[in-house]
């Protein structure tokens, strides 16, 4: 899947779950600090991404999701 398409999907979910405007997000945005996401919001976003991309993200990967770019990298490598 194209990276731009992945980013677009994540931005849509971010806006839906946490009302974060796409223009406020870059790949270097830190999820908790820059985007002010709570742990609940991060987990909801991850659960939504699993549904959207039809995959199961192992819990041990959660620790690696610090920035928006981390999410994009993971999905680019694992989403079909």
């Amino acid at each position: 899947m194209e990276r731009a398409e992945i980013i677009s999907q994540i931005l849509a979910i971010l806006e839906d779950v946490a009302e974060v405007s796409p223009e406020d997000v870059s790949e270097s945005s830190v999820l908790m600090d820059d985007l002010d996401l709570s742990s609940m919001e991060i987990l909801t976003i991850v659960a939504d991404l699993e549904e959207t991309f039809g995959l199961r993200i192992p819990e041990k990967e959660l620790r690696n999701f610090v920035t928006m770019g981390d999410l994009v990298d993971y999905l680019a490598a694992n989403a079909g």
Binding site: S38, V46, A47, E51, K60, L62
Partner: protein, 403 residues
């Protein structure tokens, strides 16, 4: 059924069981003195249920709302030992009573009650059965639950701490998720008490330490993480709650080749005693139930809530190498008279969030450990027997029930 009879009062206390990967169905099984008469057991069940409306309910789920309402269907005693699907095969009841040979099986969906919440009802059924079978004279007084605790007041008193990045990034135990197998160990209560006294610790701590020692070899790791639950009824001011009313704690212990119980027990005991203070239990309960509350409040499909809940438990450090639940005597009240009619007791609860679940119960001087194990290795019973015997515990039985 009139909607006015519906109630959501006791829904929240079990809501977390909507979020589990699999429905948590538990089993208490009592072996009695003689072969069980199903007809008499049916009469005992009917009579007990007439005095215990808390259990005479069915779960109704409509869109995102759930209710309990009176169940008008007959509550049947089933023949055999197979666990039925609850409530699909139980006329809507959230528990099931069956019998085979000398054994009464009591299965229940953890949603409506926890182990402590089951005991008064199961004991009453056995008492009324003994009245019919042996001419005893146990009374059938009403079994009534305390009101639901006020979760919002609890959360206001003990505000939840938000998970930080460091929380999200800490190491968590990777649990085994292979096909579940059962192991049972029996030991004399006196030998465990003696060992605990010799080490100046609670019997619970001694048991937890013994399990850690045994599992070091079995799991092949030096750091063993264990979890346990604590009954919070008294601390929460709802002593007669029949619904789920517990909190849980996690600790780890580091072991080496020559580690003995005396080396680890004092520190383990100090940690356990700290957690069992009423204030500590309430704070933990508020923390854990506030997570359930937050997930429940999400405007999301159930499957998303389930996934969020599971990941939340993971980052909270809930997964452990084993869970230890110390039920004690399952009879409530545990009168000497009812105990004379019971030969044996097993309790089986699927582990969720651990490689194995250890349910410890005590009856007639014997402690029975019923272990449901999702690790793939063989030899758990032998590891337990060896570790327990090395510490002078009198092991009466250590068997693998599933091969």
């Amino acid at each position: 059924m009139e909607q006015a009879q519906r109630s959501a009062e006791y829904i929240f206390q079990g809501t977390m069981y909507f979020f589990r990967r699999e429905k948590i169905l538990c089993r208490y099984q009592f072996a009695l003195k003689d072969a069980v008469d199903p007809a008499l057991l049916q009469r005992a069940l009917d009579a007990a249920l007439s005095a215990a409306p808390y259990y005479r309910v069915q779960l109704v789920q409509e869109k995102r709302e759930a209710f309990l309402e009176p169940n008008p269907n007959p509550c049947l005693v089933y023949a055999g030992s197979a666990q039925r699907s609850i409530p699909e095969e139980t006329n809507g009841y959230l528990f099931s009573v069956s019998c085979e040979g000398d054994t009464v099986y009591f299965d229940w969906y953890h949603f409506l009650m926890d182990g402590r919440g089951v005991s008064p009802f199961l004991t009453r059924i056995l008492e009324l059965y003994c009245n019919l079978r042996y001419g005893t004279a146990f009374a059938n007084t009403p079994i009534v639950s305390s009101p639901a605790y006020d979760i919002e007041a609890m959360m206001a008193k003990y505000p939840a701490t938000e998970a930080s990045e460091s929380t999200l990034q800490r190491d968590v135990v990777q649990t085994w998720e292979c096909k579940m197998r059962r192991t049972r160990v029996r030991l004399t209560k006196q030998s465990l008490v003696d060992k605990a006294v010799a080490n100046g610790v609670k019997p619970f701590t001694a048991l937890a330490g013994l399990l850690c020692l045994a599992l070091r070899g079995y799991l092949g790791k030096d750091d063993i993480q264990y979890s346990y639950s604590a009954d919070t009824r008294k601390a929460a001011g709802v002593p007669d709650a029949l619904y789920n009313c517990v909190c849980s704690f996690q600790h780890s212990v580091k072991l080496g080749d020559g580690t003995r119980l005396a080396d680890i027990a004092p520190e383990m005991d100090a940690a356990v005693r700290r957690t069992l203070q009423p204030e500590a239990m309430l704070r933990q309960m508020a923390q854990q139930m506030s997570w359930v509350y937050k997930v429940d409040q999400q405007k999301a499909p159930l499957r998303i809530k389930q996934r969020v809940f599971q990941m939340g438990e993971y980052i909270s450090g809930v997964p452990a190498d084993f869970w230890l639940s110390y039920l004690g005597n399952p009879l409530l009240p545990a009168t000497p008279e009812i105990q004379t009619y019971t030969k044996d007791f097993n309790v089986w609860v699927p582990p969720d969030g651990g490689s194995m679940g250890v349910e410890a119960s005590s009856l007639n001087g014997v402690i029975t450990l019923c272990i449901e194990n999702k690790a793939e290795m063989s030899g758990l019973a032998a590891s337990l027997r060896t570790a327990f015997a090395k510490e002078g515990i009198a092991v009466l039985e250590a068997v693998e029930l599933d091969t």
